[in-house]
């Protein structure tokens, strides 16, 4: 469960990205945050992931107030979240397998367990046949799927994805959204953001629309 309680976020330059946001995402729910560029979607997701912290108000993830967690606590929290970044944040000096394996290396899994879990995750996103491929040979869609594989490899209870369909054509975007729906169907809580509301109809999700840092719908 993720709870935003009167959350505001003001940056050092004075720009207020979020203004008094309050809403809750229940366990097993799938929520899509929509809104134009600069609406505050990414900031909201970064607050939920503990990458940034609210200026005022509280963000609770699985009943833990992120503002009260120490550095180690934040690390543990993030290890239990699946994070998909807008710019993928993949490592080009690692191959597909190496990228997907990173969260498991951080969590201290053995090589055998890493091998099993990574292949299972790559299989889920349809990249198992490319496990040894270098990143430069992957298309944008494949890179996005690899990013999702890395997010789910640790079997998280919450998936947070910032613009996962951002640079993809509609058909491919639908495939990616289907992937998130399949994870949600097995009980994973999903929080997505997108600037493009199209294609969300069949996702059967709750939508939260932001405009200038305020929930408008």
């Amino acid at each position: 469960m993720i709870t935003f309680s009167s959350v505001s976020k003001r940056y050092a330059n004075g720009y207020e990205a979020l203004k008094g946001i309050s809403f809750t995402i229940e366990n097993g729910e799938i929520v899509v945050v929509t809104g134009h560029s600069g609406a505050g979607k990414s900031t909201l997701l970064r607050l939920a992931a503990g990458i940034e912290f609210a200026s005022t108000g509280n963000v609770l993830v699985n009943n833990q107030n992120l503002a009260q967690l120490k550095e180690t606590g934040i690390s543990v929290l993030r290890q239990n979240l699946g994070l998909v970044f807008q710019d993928h944040k993949l490592l080009f000096d690692r191959n597909v397998f190496g990228n997907a394996a990173l969260p498991l290396e951080i969590a201290g899994f053995t090589r055998i367990e890493i091998g099993k879990r990574v292949r299972a995750a790559l299989d889920k996103v349809g990249l198992l046949h490319r496990e040894k491929a270098g990143l430069v040979s992957l298309s944008g869609g494949e890179q996005q799927r690899l990013c999702i594989a890395r997010a789910i490899v640790n079997r998280p209870s919450i998936l947070i994805a910032d613009e996962p369909t951002g640079n993809l054509d509609q058909a491919y975007a639908a495939t990616i959204l289907d992937l998130f729906r399949s994870f949600n169907q097995v009980g994973v809580t999903v929080l997505l953001s997108t600037h493009d509301g199209s294609g969300l109809e069949h996702l059967k999700c709750r939508q939260v629309e932001l405009e200038h840092g305020v929930i408008v719908r």
Partner: protein
């Protein structure tokens, strides 16, 4: 416990992996650090050998009194009486010119030379063990002994030992100074290598931190990398010192043997070698720690 051990093993494996992926840069860094360690280590080993050689020599302090060649046995006895009566004489030993020649004949390489000499060129002599070694008293003693009739020269054979001790102290200070300076060099070399490593691996560090890597997960491989670099450089320096010791030592040993000596040069002992490798490893770790502490904030703020 297993998880901690596993985490350390993974960090070590990642550090070794980084070395494997940049073999040339790693080897060059290790070579530079090894040279930095080799200088004070080599000087220390040289100093150790000089001290060892000095301990093989007779350093018992004596005042040696040589009489004029024409001195008769009776005159020598008169001188002996005066020497025994001197206030700073603890023990006086008479070395007759015949005994001195016989002793010289026994020495290697000199018997052939002395065989062609008809007359004994050596004077009667006395060896005095003084009571006090204070320089002022010894200087006064030298003057007084020189004033005794039939005395030709007086030497104090421990002066060189004092000079050697002074030199040894100088070398000791030099080793400490060089060790300190080059220890700092090790810190800088390792620190710079780690800084470059951190910059080239910035993306991985940023991504790892974003997906929940604790600080220790990111930092440990760098610390292991620094410690490994230091330890390997220490090992290389010890090996080079042993190699140089074998190469130069053979010549030195042959030279000493030609003068009838039985002194053999020695390289660093096992304990010394282990200490060098350990200290170099610790210096490497410390250099890495300083470097990662300095650049950590820079990378953290770039997330």
């Amino acid at each position: 416990m297993n998880a901690t051990l596993n985490a350390h093993m993974q960090a070590l494996a990642r550090a070794l992996g980084r070395m494997r992926t940049q073999p040339l840069a790693t080897c060059l860094s290790i070579a530079v650090i090894a040279i930095a360690i080799l200088l004070p280590l080599g000087l220390y080993v040289l100093f150790d050998n000089v001290i060892n050689a000095a301990s093989h020599l007779n350093t018992e302090p004596n005042v040696n009194v040589y009489l004029k060649l024409a001195t008769s046995d009776q005159e020598a006895k008169d001188v002996e009486k005066k020497l025994r009566a001197h206030s700073n004489s603890a023990q006086v030993t008479f070395v007759s010119r015949e005994a001195a020649l016989a002793d010289m004949r026994k020495r290697a390489n000199l018997s052939d030379l002395l065989a062609d000499i008809d007359t004994n060129p050596l004077p009667h002599a006395f060896s005095i063990k003084p009571l006090s070694f204070e320089m002022s008293i010894l200087e006064a003693m030298r003057k007084e002994v020189l004033s005794i009739p039939k005395v030709e020269t007086v030497t104090m054979d421990f002066e060189w030992a004092k000079q050697l001790t002074r030199f040894a102290r100088f070398v000791e200070h030099l080793v400490i100074l060089l060790g300190g300076l080059l220890g700092a060099a090790v810190l800088f070399v390792v620190g710079n290598t780690i800084r470059l490593q951190m910059l080239t691996q910035k993306d991985e560090i940023v991504v790892a931190r974003l997906i929940g890597a604790p600080r220790r997960f990111v930092l440990r491989p760098f610390l292991y990398f620094g410690a490994l670099q230091g330890a390997l450089a220490g090992l290389l320096a010890v090996a080079a010192t042993l190699g140089i010791g074998l190469w130069v030592g053979g010549e030195v040993n042959a030279f000493v043997a030609s003068y009838g000596g039985n002194f053999f040069t020695q390289g660093p002992s096992f304990e010394q070698s282990l200490s060098v490798i350990t200290v170099a490893g610790i210096m490497g770790w410390l250099g890495a720690l300083i470097s990662v502490s300095m650049y950590w904030r820079q990378i953290e703020t770039s997330r």
